[in-house]
Amino acid sequence: MKKLILFFLFLSLLLTSQELIVVGNNTFPLKSLSKEEIKDFYLSKHRFIEEEKILVMNFGNSNDLRTCFEKNILEKSKRSLERYWRRAYYKGKRPPKVVKSNEMLFSYLEAVAPSLGYCDANISLEHNVTVLFRISCD
């Protein structure tokens, strides 16, 4: 009985663990991206993909998915990112475009090519996007 309870507890933890996917527009030139490549786009170190300028999107500062993205993909704290973007701004760089909702994200993904964003794995299934990377939120 105890084992059964533990099994269900473990299962419920797995089920509630959020999964994040990095998505590109449906004609995105690549089939997948590495974590390092995603970092480079999100930190504006790289801005082109196959000669085309890419639109990179992020959620607002208080969004849980963004916290997961910064921790697990960018692997930087909020403080470290603040410091990075202060310095980058002086060099003329700009952070990713902030979108306020999934609807806004998918609207841009449909309208702009190439474009890049991220969302909850469950939500994206309804949309025609290219899944480029997948990670579980800790």
Partner: protein
């Protein structure tokens, strides 16, 4: 009148930045233009007058297809002495004015006036971006801080890049605390791995008195979550008697609370013109209540020159 307006502007600027989303400046609608800037109010016990708006600067940037444009213009030394006793005049500088063309992700050509791409400090030499208000001695002594010419960037791979800088003409403006050069040639290498960055530079320049100087620099930076370490060492050679054979520093920053830092810096340099070889010690504290604001206090002690000082500053990026 100008001083009062400047102070009011400075105070208003602190309100401009939302504390969110990492973006600065104002994106001009229906264009790729962004307008922002920074400002510093500094109290320095070794300066006359002691309290100054050290600078109010405007940053204008634009990006269009493969082109990037950046202009940095500033008013400096705005005294807050409302009795008109201030001895220093307000000055206007064009610090940067350049256009870059990105051939692709790996190659970029820049022309105009820009911060010489050497070391770490010289790339972001404004108080709001650095851990201390005062700059290390090497800045303004070892190589021209600004280049009015061309720069070519070549990325070797994702973590390594080379920068070649060339100037073959006089600068169109002058700058306080900056060497003025007629010619400048430098080759810089930057490498990085995770939180560790390293840099090597070699170059030569001719100043406006037609004296030749060579320099060699080595720099290391570790930008960790709790601790930041940074060190730069430069050596100089010249055909003249007055030069700076070496100058370098090592600095540690401890991010001990979410918005608070403690900073320690040790410097050493030799200046044959002043006939001085000394150490400089700095101990400082910084409080950043929001990402775009910094309040700093630091004490600087010189081992030889009688210019120990306390410096306080309030900086804003907007």
């Amino acid at each position: 009148m100008f001083r009062r307006v400047s102070l009011i502007i400075l105070l208003l600027l602190t309100l401009l930045k939302a504390d969110d989303n990492l973006a600065y400046g104002w994106d001009v609608p229906e264009s790729s233009l962004n307008i922002g800037g920074y400002s510093d109010l500094i109290y320095d016990t070794q300066r006359e007058p002691e309290l100054l708006i050290d600078d109010i600067a405007l940053l204008v940037s634009a990006t269009k297809n493969r082109f990037d444009f950046l202009a940095e213009m500033e008013f400096s030394h705005i005294s807050l002495d409302f009795n008109e006793k201030a001895s220093r005049e307000v000055e206007f500088y064009v610090e940067q004015l350049h256009l870059s063309y990105n051939f692709n992700e790996e190659q970029m050509l820049r022309v105009g006036r820009f911060n010489s791409q050497i070391g770490f400090w010289n790339m972001i030499p404004i108080p709001i971006l650095e851990d201390t208000t005062t700059k290390p001695h090497f800045l303004g002594h070892m190589f021209p801080r600004y280049t009015f010419g061309a720069m070519f960037k070549q990325e070797i791979d994702e973590n390594n890049k080379l920068l070649l800088t060339l100037q073959k003409n006089r600068d169109f403006t002058h700058q306080e605390y900056a060497l003025e050069s007629k010619e400048h040639l430098s080759l810089a290498y930057y490498g990085e791995k995770d939180d560790l960055l390293w840099h090597l530079s070699i170059g030569e320049y001719e100043d406006t008195s037609e004296n030749d100087f060579n320099y060699l620099g080595l720099a290391l930076q570790y930008d960790g979550e709790d601790i930041g370490l940074q060190s730069e060492v430069y050596m100089q050679e010249s055909n003249v008697k007055n030069y700076v054979p070496y100058s370098g520093y090592a600095q540690a920053t401890w991010h001990f609370e979410e918005h608070q830092d403690l900073v320690g810096r040790v410097e050493r340099y030799k200046d044959t013109g002043l006939n001085v070889e000394e150490n400089i010690y700095l101990f400082g504290y910084a409080y950043r209540p929001t990402p775009n604001m910094a309040l700093k206090a630091e004490y600087i002690k010189h081992s030889v020159l009688p210019i120990n000082q306390m410096v306080y500053s309030f900086s804003v990026l907007f």
